[in-house]
């Protein structure tokens, strides 16, 4: 009893780190986060003044110290308030934690970064880290509490999970790690707790081809999409793809439509971010939490809303 009370008293609080993809391209994912976490008893701080993480094509491609300095300013916004950041974007998760790891393992980089931060009256000690929404749900909130919060379930729905690269590798830099990053189970277990079947498929850990690969060579990037889609169709015939990454969401949702238009794909599987699926199952307005997509979602949303718990 004592332990339980103590646990309840320690209210979870995070700085909501938005990044770029989510607030500008998929704001329905932002609405989902802002809906589900308070409902699950997690307080969110807006982290006013946050910027791009910085993403891979920007400062990481120019200069290590510059990369870490931009990341450190974002992390410091949480550190000043004594909270960690939380993100639904794998790129932000990767870039922020990779930068943090560099600063913690290389005092020279950390010193230079703090010299730069001092010019804007800030510092970053290395305490605040960036957590991933899926891990917070899995570890901090727990699957039991998640289940209790649902109005609708995923019963009878087969899900293909797409954790995405920066949920997994390089495992040593992340605050939370799968037991075997080449056989990830966390997203599958979350979906299963919500009632879905979430079987393994051969290309589960394959890259979606988004980001640098797509901007450098769309044709090559779409090869990866096509292979993944066909594999999902053939092996598990999924009704829905659930991802923990905003880039995977945009790529798989958008590129499968392109492939269909080119006659290279003759089926369609809706794609949603995990937080959107949870928001739907909690009964939030589908227009607001899952209203933006290229590949139609109407049917799967209808099915979910027929699954009253």
């Amino acid at each position: 009893m004592m332990a339980e009370t103590a646990k309840e008293e320690k209210k979870l609080k995070f700085g909501l780190f938005l990044g770029c993809n989510i607030p500008f391209s998929r704001p329905d994912v932002e609405v989902s986060m802002r809906s589900i976490f308070p409902a699950l008893g997690v307080e969110l701080d807006d982290l006013l003044g946050q910027s791009c993480c910085p993403t891979w094509g920007t400062m990481p491609s120019i200069d290590v110290v510059g990369w870490c300095a931009v990341a450190a300013r974002n992390l410091a916004l949480g550190e000043e308030k004594g909270i960690d950041l939380i993100t639904a974007c794998n790129s932000c998760y990767g870039s922020l934690n990779e930068a943090r790891h560099k600063m913690l393992t290389n005092p020279e980089i950390h010193r230079k970064v703090n010299e730069i931060l001092a010019t804007i009256g800030k510092k970053y000690e290395g305490k605040a880290k960036c957590r991933h929404v899926a891990w917070v749900i899995y570890k901090d909130i727990g699957l039991e509490k998640l289940k209790e919060s649902l109005k609708y379930t995923l019963d009878g729905i087969t899900v293909a999970v797409q954790p995405g690269c920066h949920f997994l590798w390089p495992s040593e830099i992340y605050p939370d790690r799968e037991k075997d990053p080449f056989n990830p189970v966390v997203l599958r277990e979350i979906c299963e707790a919500m009632g879905a079947e979430a079987p393994h498929y051969s290309k589960l850990i394959e890259c979606c081809g988004m980001g640098a690969l797509r901007s450098t060579d769309p044709e090559k990037s779409f090869i990866l999409v096509r292979e993944k889609m066909e594999n999902i169709k053939e092996e598990i015939d999924a009704d829905l793809i659930v991802t923990t990454c905003s880039s995977c969401l945009i790529q798989l949702d958008d590129a499968q439509e392109r492939l269909r238009k080119e006659g290279k794909l003759n089926f369609s599987i809706p794609v949603m971010h995990l937080v959107q699926v949870i928001a739907l199952c909690m009964g939030f307005d589908p227009e607001k939490v899952a209203g933006i997509c290229v590949t139609p979602r109407d049917e799967i949303i209808k099915r979910i809303l027929e699954n009253k718990r």
Partner: protein, 188 residues
């Protein structure tokens, strides 16, 4: 060396190039790559584990991790500057996870990007991302206002978009990085 005189052949024989006498420049390229963040490049033993799972190798990019590392170790540099492979690296770090020598091939790819940026061998999309980062605080910046309104969110997220002082801070940081030295984008 006649191979080089004819320009870059379609298939570069790396073992052959490795036999070349080391010049000052050749010695330097791996050193530069180390300074640019890939400290452990020389530990590579060319086992190929990184290439076996690299999305770039899989989709047919020319200078994927293992091959780029070899090329840099043997001293190639100018031959590599026109190739887009490093800019296609998705930073997935599968390679880092499996490398038995802790080379972090990802770091080599990105050190190569940094070297290419110094040589202005950087694409217009990357420049645009850097410009948007400086201008708005968001590299992937779309007007997105309509979409935000549609889902009931304020037009601007609580980022540098809503906080001029924070944007000023960010710009001040960027001005103290190599981005400013290189002059890749207008900074004020």
């Amino acid at each position: 060396m006649e191979m080089m005189e004819e320009g870059v052949p379609p298939v570069i024989n790396l073992s052959k190039l490795a036999e070349r006498e080391e010049t000052e420049l050749e010695k330097k390229v791996a050193e530069i790559i180390k300074e640019l963040g890939a400290e452990r490049i020389m530990y590579c033993m060319q086992c190929g584990a990184c290439a076996s799972i690299c999305p770039l190798a899989k989709t047919g990019f020319e200078w994927y991790n293992k091959k780029l590392i070899k090329a840099l170790i043997v001293g190639l540099r100018d031959e590599l500057l026109d190739d887009p492979t490093p800019w296609a690296c998705v930073a997935c770090n599968r390679c880092t996870e499996v490398c038995p020598r802790r080379v972090s091939p990802f770091e080599v790819m990105f050190a190569m990007r940094r070297l290419m940026a110094e040589e202005y061998a950087i694409g217009s999309l990357a420049i645009e991302g850097l410009r948007a980062l400086y201008e708005y605080g968001h590299a992937v910046y779309m007007t997105g206002r309509e979409a935000r309104k549609k889902v009931g969110l304020p037009e601007k997220p609580p980022s540098t978009e809503s906080d001029p002082k924070a944007l000023e801070d960010l710009r001040k940081i960027l001005k103290q990085t190599k981005l400013a030295d290189l002059g890749l984008i207008p900074m004020e």
